[in-house]
């Protein structure tokens, strides 16, 4: 309802509107720093990356030429890229699987053991705050051929030392497990928060109905943990697919290209092979894979969501 003075057309109303609009404008001005930040550090590099992917730029020279879709066409016939995509999926989906399973198991364990909760939670979460590069080096020293802890243990049993990182496929699995170990604490915390948000009355009702512990887990806990599953799975998938530091510290993507991820391959193409155009095309491919996967996962979890 308008007051008499605020009726449209009156001078007083126009002034008020103007003031309201200025006030709203002031609020909008507050967005500008964030918008500028995102534009400079996200949008500009992203669109610049798309632009570079259509050139043969070497990464530093002032001259280059447009090559159309050549980089993309080369990419689809490059067996190193195909191998790298497979590795990236192992890093992304494999890490997610282990982090989800063990994160959930730890959360369930801690949810029922309040006395040791804070201690175990801290211990499991501790690796998260260590730099992934340092974590990679720690595990490199465990698995190295000469003087590595694992080979020293094998020597105690009179076994021959194994060059763990010399086999590409095995390196990929070790790296994936190192990443899973480092970030399992994040999943644990997410699931723990989810478990604590489930009202006890739901479990009590299920007990009265005679549900076994497994059925209570299957039909009460899991459906109500879907938001935690969604956050954990999407977060870990994206993190695993962008894996870089641990690979650099352990194998540097080797032997050859055997344990490269899309991130390390991009780095190698840009800085070592002087093929920035190809690196940019690979970046766009990685972006597309992550976006498609994230949207599919979001859609999946949206359908499974149960509101309290």
């Amino acid at each position: 309802m308008h007051s008499r003075n605020s009726r449209p057309g009156r001078p007083g109303s126009r002034i008020k509107k103007l003031k309201a609009s200025v006030a709203a404008g002031s609020v909008n001005v507050m967005y500008l720093p964030a918008l500028a930040f995102v534009s400079v550090f996200i949008f500009y590099p992203f669109f610049r990356g798309i632009y570079i992917s259509f050139t043969n730029w070497n990464g530093y020279s002032s001259s280059f030429r447009f090559v159309g879709f050549e980089q993309y066409l080369t990419m689809f016939g490059d067996k190193n890229v195909l191998n790298t995509i497979v590795n990236t999926f192992i890093y992304g989906l494999g890490s997610t699987f282990f982090q989800t399973v063990f994160g959930l198991a730890l959360a369930l364990f801690l949810d029922g053991n309040r006395r040791i909760k804070s201690v175990v939670r801290t211990v499991v979460y501790l690796p998260v705050i260590i730099s992934p590069l340092i974590m990679g080096y720690i595990w490199y020293f465990f698995f190295r051929y000469n003087g590595g802890a694992v080979n020293d243990i094998l020597a105690l049993f009179a076994k021959e030392p194994v060059d763990w990182f010399a086999n590409g496929r095995r390196s990929v699995w070790i790296i994936m497990l190192v990443n899973s170990y480092q970030f399992v604490g994040v999943s644990m915390v997410m699931f723990l928060a989810g478990l604590q948000s489930i009202p006890p009355s739901y479990h009590e009702a299920a007990v009265i109905d005679g549900a076994s512990p497994f059925k209570r887990f299957r039909f009460v806990t899991v459906p109500l943990l879907v938001p935690a599953f969604a956050s954990s799975v999407i977060f870990n998938t994206i993190g695993g697919m962008k894996l870089f530091d641990v690979i650099v510290a352990t194998t540097d993507g080797g032997p050859g290209y055997a344990s490269q991820s899309l991130s390390t391959m991009m780095y190698d193409l840009y800085f070592s092979k002087q093929n920035a155009g190809y690196a940019a095309a690979l970046g766009i491919l990685m972006f597309a894979i992550i976006v498609i996967l994230s949207v599919m996962l979001l859609e999946f979890f949206k359908r499974k969501r149960v509101d309290l």
Partner: protein, 416 residues
Amino acid sequence: MKKLNVALVLLVATVICGTTAWGADGAKAKLSVFNNQSQIAQGVLEAITDDFRKANPNIEVDFQSYGKDYESMMKIKMASNDLPDVFSTHGWAVARYDEYLADLSKEAWASRVQGSIRDVITDKSGKLCVLPMDLDITGMTYNKDIFKQYGLKVPTTFKELLAVCEAIKTKSGGKITPLHYGGGDSWPIGGYYDFNSTAYYVSSPAHNYSAQLLDGSFDWTKYDEISKNLLLLKEKQYLNKDILTAKYTDSVEALAKGTAAIGGCYGAYIITEIKKINPDFHAGMMPIPAYWDGDKPTFIGGERTTWGVWKDSKYVDAAKKYVAFFAQTPNLKKVSEANGIPAGLDGVVSNLGDLTEDYTTYKSAKIFPYFDRALLPNGMWDVMCKNGQDLLAGGITPKDFSDNMKKEYLRLRNAK
């Protein structure tokens, strides 16, 4: 408002002072210096920089060492045309950095540049691109005591090298690795290819393909041979078992502890690091064995420790003064001795320790420039490193290696 005015005046004054030429009352030049050296050589450069700071209080020096990330850092700097005032050119003074470098040919020290390096660091227009603090003369570093113990002679051909490796393996009961490469770092594998390519495809007059490599007509199937021989060395167990994962530091350790006899592609720089672990290490430097009958062993040479000055630096004069400080004889002596190689300017007598004898013995051996720098387009180095690892891991065959080399060679040539 008055306060605002005062602040503006101060701001303008600060800006004006900031753009005043260095050397004027109280104004300081601020040099940024980037280098790629690591460990001992880096320490020496830093110590000389400290002396420079003391001698030149009106010049601030921000000295940064980037080690193995140096190339990546410099590529970012080149892409943004914002280079350090003084920087190392790590073998690429002319081929990569020429357009960014100031001419140093008018400097007082320029006339003393050694003849063997002058052409390497001078561009087509006659511009002297850098100060060469030392001269890279590289072959294979080896443990003289092991050779003496088993009564071995330095091999002069690939066949003799195989015989020496067999003798070391057999006589040591497999406890000493004949040839050690820190292949986990990938660059030592590149080193195998780079060093030996000269013996396979350049140094023998009957098998000199330099012209074909430069004009693009090289038949890359010929490159299978060098890969086949790498696999042969592996198959005969002449290489360290962990070649795919060992780091350069593992090579240092193995040589220092006497569990490896020859550092497959390590120059004199490795000796100072070995001696930190084992001061009694008796080092030798052998030239790269010849591959073809009738050819002679060769050394690989070129730039090693250099300083170039960015031509668009705000402080070109201060930068040249900094470079000139390093050109002083006592400073050059320190740098060349740290790397165990001769100084880059005439009139500097360095104590090269164990290697003095070898440099005398092999003074008539021919020195060739690094294969990749002289004959391949910029960017091929990593192709050799990564594909070499892949070959040793069984991921590709020698033919695949050559095909990949050809593909990247053509791409990089055409990208010029």
